[in-house]
Amino acid sequence: MPLGRLFAIAILVAGLAAVLVTALGGDDDTTESVLATEPTNDTAADEPRAPLPVLGQAGNLTDLDGWLNTEDTTFEQILADNEVVVVQFWTFACRNCKNTLDAMGELYEEYRDQGVEFIGVHAPEFAFEAEIPNIIEAADELGVVWPIALDTGKENFHEWQEGRWGYWPRAYLIDSEGQIRQNERGDGLAGYRELGENIQRLLDGDA
């Protein structure tokens, strides 16, 4: 058998195996909590932690098409009214964004009454994601009950993300001085657990 044919067969077998493994692997959904747990190692708990880095000053949210799940407001007003703000760029048809919504919901429920506000900046990739009735329906289905800023033109999506490279989802943790203290790309659960820990650190003045 010619080498080229053997190579092609190997690619086919390996590729089909990968599809099978992925299909059998199921969803990324998890019921694991992202809320900070009490440290079990006393020594580690006693050690002073390095302060969270300051990753720059947060931008503004401008030219929005409105807000959902809140009275009409401004980003400046939200910053002024809260000690900590989490801004997440998302869009409802993005599976990676959906993977983070349980974690966002859990953090929102835990911290909403502690001076922390969550803003989901909805920046659509496709035209059907830009239609407000579709966003309202999707937010309802997906359980997004925290404030949603409608960034239909994606001005803020591009303004906040450096260069010409934008991600869904991307979350920023902002302190009371409007400084970015965490910049979380992608849907990794570990990153959202860290977000919870860092919110608590900012509230405790330990950051």
Partner: protein, 198 residues
Amino acid sequence: MATFLEGVSAITMACTLVIGLPTLALACAARGRAALVVAGSVVATALVMWARAAGHWNLANDGLMVVPIAVAIAGAFALAWRSERLPWFGALGVGVVGGGVAGWLWQPCVGEQLAKIVNDADSSPFTTAPLMIVYTTGALLPVILLAALPHAWPAIKDALTHRNLGRAGAAVGGLYALSVASGRYNDLVGELFRISST
């Protein structure tokens, strides 16, 4: 492995269709040279993606830039149609142009593994660039399998390299170039995704 599987799991996502559909069309247009074209396309898509993440590629892909991008797309498809007459490196080059444009236009939804790659793209280029190729190989796996199929199973080579399939690929390529030029490409893909998922 996790990076490759994350790429595979992204195949059905609307974000990934943005690169999957044109690469599939390019492979169809290239017919007998699909394997070379797809190989060039996968590597170029990944490396342009990586270069953007690392901050080495900041060229605009909107405004007036859509005109040269659309011309590059049309040129890539025209050459793919004639790729059986090109030397092997010419066919590879067609894939590089097609894939490079796809990587330039792509705005991905980011999972855990891809996030690690883009986070470290600037600081660890020798690790992250190959990983980006691995991710893209997973994301474009159906096209790679389609290109490998006639070589693995010569009995169906005639069907998979038929001129009508090539014409269909070239027609999709023309639509791709026009929709990019008019700034409506993402909307077109979004509609296809919405229709297929309802």
